[in-house]
């Protein structure tokens, strides 16, 4: 380890890996820290990537030059297209990943990245002077840096629960980080969340005959926008269900469940509840669906998705045995819940940097999100912005109308979250336009602008644009041009064709969405002058004035999305701004222009 770097990334989970790679690829000198090398890019929970909302995120990460997409493509052992009977905007790729290969693959990407040093060490303290990051204390030594990206996942103040058994520490028994207190000193607010995982079962103790087979599919494309996935033999998944007996056992032991006994105070995810939560909340439901998933190719263990739990070990044993196919199951790793500190993301701006601390960025589950894909997307944004900020370049800012990544960042930053945030297609207002198949059309130009698109990506994108041009302007059956194409180019052409077809399916609806998106943009572009004096806006409620003063929105659109600001507050705000603009319109115009130019410098 040297004495100084540009960027220090804390943690090499899914957020950390993307952050470290993005920053390094943008030319920053990066030090990436992990508590243990063998936990790099580890999938502590469900070994899968994708699904509704998440598949879109991964395709976008890839379009922006991130790593998750191609790594997932290289390492999947089972893949399916979900919602294939429904419309293109809600279709999603879900892949089961070979956990071990994925970790190796990502570690290799980190190793081979110039400008990126990986070290196994704990960061004890971030140094902040006069509201600006100056360095960190690592292994007792002071290391200087200009930016820090916090990607600590569930390690801050982590506590693991299995029944009455409570241990300090992150997943798989790693020590918890003691970083929280020093961050609290800097005025950073934390929340306490909880997440859980399901038990893992010995593969040879499962009676597959009693479960429903779900084979993988051969998909024409996977997560990469520029490379066709290699065909491979796929592993199977299996479907089974809980039943009344399962629920009875859970019911009888509910007082031993940490979330119900009051032991766990952290808030769990509504969309991914533990099986005990499901049974209590949906008492009328006779059975809950479970997926038995491979963890590695030909591996000894299988993961039972849908059975997240922190019930005591003996109860887990009994529960599992009531499930068809798992009557003789041997649990190799018990399910557990983990409680952890996470940053209140409303303290961040759209670059995922803290508003009140220059150079400090935060990404991933430690921002209150859940899921590998959500973490990776944030990591890319935060890491890229750390480097861009150091270089004095304009930031990477993605709008809600541009990508799911934009929805994710905007939701976290503008609304905050009071439970682990999971991406859903329902969160996107412009869902019809933000499809997994057109991610590169929406984002590659951004990647090129900031410098995250390598030559291969640029070349592939150029070709796609040419094909699109030919297909939209030329005669329909343009078979002549297909003659001289390579196999790869044929594949790109097919992808473009499909996207155009899918655009056609939605017809006028896309137009309507575009118009709504344009209206949204207009509100976003109605700037609020830098020095807007909220305290003197007597028409606004005291609460609104407080919130606006704290959040300093840069546009009416942003102000609108601050929770607790009502439409009449917005109307009043506009009136004040218009009145301010009237007497000395030209002066204010200048301010507004100056601000816009400043942002796009």
């Amino acid at each position: 380890m040297r004495k100084g770097y540009d960027v220090i990334v804390i943690g090499l989970g899914h957020a950390g890996c993307e952050a470290a790679l993005a920053a390094a690829r943008l030319g920053a000198d990066v030090l990436a820290l992990t508590l243990r090398r063998d936990s790099i890019a580890r999938m502590s929970c469900n070994p899968s990537i994708g699904g509704p909302g998440k598949s879109q995120l991964v395709r976008e990460i890839d379009a922006l030059g991130g790593e998750m997409g191609s790594a997932a493509d290289d390492c999947y052992i089972h893949v399916r297209m979900l919602n294939s009977a429904k419309g293109p905007a809600v279709r999603a790729i879900r892949a089961q990943i070979d956990k071990a290969s994925y970790q190796a693959r990502m570690a290799a990407a980190l190793e081979s990245q110039p400008g990126l040093e990986v070290a196994e060490a704990e960061l004890e303290r971030v140094h902040i002077e006069s509201g600006r990051v100056t360095g960190a204390t690592i292994r007792g030594e002071k290391v200087s840096c200009r930016a820090v990206v916090l990607c600590s996942g569930t390690y801050l103040g982590g506590k693991t629960y299995i029944g009455e058994d409570v241990r300090e520490g992150g997943p798989e028994g790693f020590p918890a980080s003691a970083l929280t207190p020093s961050l609290l000193d800097e005025g950073i607010r934390f929340m306490r969340f909880k997440t859980g995982t399901s038990p893992r079962i010995a593969s040879d103790s499962i009676d597959y005959g009693r479960m429903e087979l779900q084979p993988g599919e051969d998909l024409p494309y996977c997560f990469s926008n520029i490379r066709k996935p290699l065909k491979r033999d796929q592993e199977d998944c299996w479907i089974t269900y809980t039943n009344e007996r399962t629920h009875a056992i859970i019911g009888d032991n509910i007082d031993r469940a940490p979330i119900f006994s009051g032991l766990i105070k952290g808030v769990g995810p509504r969309y991914c509840p533990s099986i005990e939560a499901k049974v209590v909340r949906f008492a009328g439901k006779h059975r809950h669906q479970l997926f038995v998933e491979p963890i590695t190719r030909g591996g000894r263990e299988k993961y039972v998705a849908g059975l997240a739990t922190s019930l005591p070990r003996d109860v887990q044993d009994r529960i599992v045995r009531t499930i068809p196919g798992l009557e003789g199951a041997v649990i190799t790793k018990y399910g557990y819940a983990i409680e952890y500190d996470c940053v209140d993301p409303s303290q961040l701006d759209h670059r995922l940097g803290f508003r009140h601390i220059e150079g400090l960025f935060s990404a991933g589950q430690s921002n209150g999100s859940s899921g590998y894909e959500e973490a990776a997307a944030q990591g890319l944004v935060a890491g890229a912005n750390a480097a861009l900020w150091i270089k004095g370049c304009p930031p990477l800012l993605i709008g809600r109308d541009q990508a799911y990544i934009g929805v994710l960042v905007d939701d976290l930053v503008m609304k905050g979250t009071d439970e682990p945030y999971r991406m859903l297609t329902a969160r996107a207002e412009y869902r019809l336009a933000l499809r997994q198949d057109n991610a590169d059309m929406r984002l590659t130009s951004e990647a090129v602008r900031i410098g995250l698109a390598d030559e291969a990506r640029k070349a592939a994108f150029e070709k796609k644009l040419k094909f699109k041009e030919a297909l939209t302007s030329g005669p329909p059956a343009d078979t002549g041009s297909e003659a001289g194409l390579t196999e790869e180019e044929m594949w790109l052409m097919q992808c473009v064709k499909e996207s155009l077809e899918l655009d056609g399916i939605y017809g006028g609806y896309i137009e309507k969405e575009r118009r709504m998106a344009a209206a949204f943009r207009r509100l976003e572009q109605q700037p609020i002058p830098e020095g807007a004096d909220y305290k003197s806006m007597y028409r606004l409620s005291a609460e609104a004035r407080e919130k606006l003063f704290e959040r300093r929105p840069s546009s009416i659109g942003e102000a609108y999305r601050i929770p607790g600001i009502s439409p009449s507050d917005i109307a009043a705000l506009i009136i004040h701004l218009r009145q301010e603009a009237n007497p000395d319109g030209r002066r204010l115009q200048g301010d507004i222009e100056g601000r816009l130019i400043g942002d796009r410098r």
Binding site: L424, Y506, Y560
Partner: protein, 460 residues
Amino acid sequence: MERADTIAAISTPHGVGGVAVIKISGPDSKAILESCFSPAKRRFPSPPRDVSFGRVHTADGKFIDEAVGLFFEGPRSYTGEDVAELQCHGGTAVARAILTEVISRGARQARAGEFTRRALMNGKMPLIKAEATLAIINARTERARAMASDLIGGSYEMEAYELKRGIIDALAKMEARLDWPDELMDEETAAVDASSIADLEGKVRGMIEEQSRGRLLIDGLKVAIIGRPNMGKSSLLNRILGMDRAMVSEIPGTTRDTVEETANIEGIPIRFADTAGIGSTDDPLIEAGVQRAKKAALTSAVVVYVAAFPQGITEEDVREIRRLEGKPLVIALNKSDLKGLSGERVNSGHQDPGIPGCEVIEVSAKTGSGMKELFRAIAEKASSIGGHEQEGGYSARWISCLEGCLASLARAKGALATKAPPELACADLREAAYAIGELLGDTTTDDVLDVIFDKFCIGK
């Protein structure tokens, strides 16, 4: 930065009454109150709100009236600003005198609805309530007031919220299927089908109808009474109004100009225009009146065509009636007291105007017979006209939001029926929910802001 000025107005209607209220709102309210009101209480007003008996006087100490003075410290007042009130003896002169005094101390005469505007802009009430408040102020009949009271009481708002909830429920069920494709879909989570959307459509239609009716009650309608000379139109109008307003005389062509007067017909405020008899005439003065009459007929929502016994409906009548083609029409066959008097058969000379849906009501302005029937027919015709054909006002905005919602729901239903990708039905349902949000003022789009700015003249 420029603060709002202080406005004042007489809040109670003009005319004689027990009490008159002068309301003052703005930063100078307190100072103005203290300068013209001598309270019986010591230390008045004490914050945050206070009331005291006292005397109102002029700048040079001359007594004007005894009154009760009130003060509400902003923001906890109607408008959100400092508000003062003087409740004095009712009576136009006294109230006027106090208002003049208040204005001379630095207040400005408030424009119509300005207090409510300020309440709206200061976030004291949601948009829909502000509009309802204006409605109640403008209510001229008991039915209208009752409806507006309902609005203030929030029943319409609640209905709209219920509707929004219903739409979002349907939307949520559809979204769930999209974001959790693998989950079991039991009966509880069965897909939203066309019939539940049809239910929502029914609710919206009901609200539109309610609005149209309400519109009618508040704004009323213009009805023209036309017919050939000396059919007893003025007598009929007198009878309707219950007073001797129009000129009645034996000489045909007496009513030279149109006379307008408002009557309460089954709760609907109706402005009647009595017009000079139409039909050919040589007298130029009468001719001018006749032209005005024709114009009045054109600009009215409903026309009452008056013919009379003993002639009944003549050919000339039928010609005139035909000219009103397309207009909602009621035919009043006046002077029914003369029916059969000349010994002719009732139907002789009595033409059938042959206009479908046009009622012929036999009345007698002289005896009052048939008037109730006539009122009923007029009210029915008035109600059948869609309220949203009338321009402007909050109702137009509400109805336009509701119609937008209805169109989106219809599209959603269509999308489900044609088995289009389900996310399209979701997009439509979102649009429908958004439209109700606009109605409630939940969402401030440019359009809504424009309405606020236009209607409430802010920033002038």
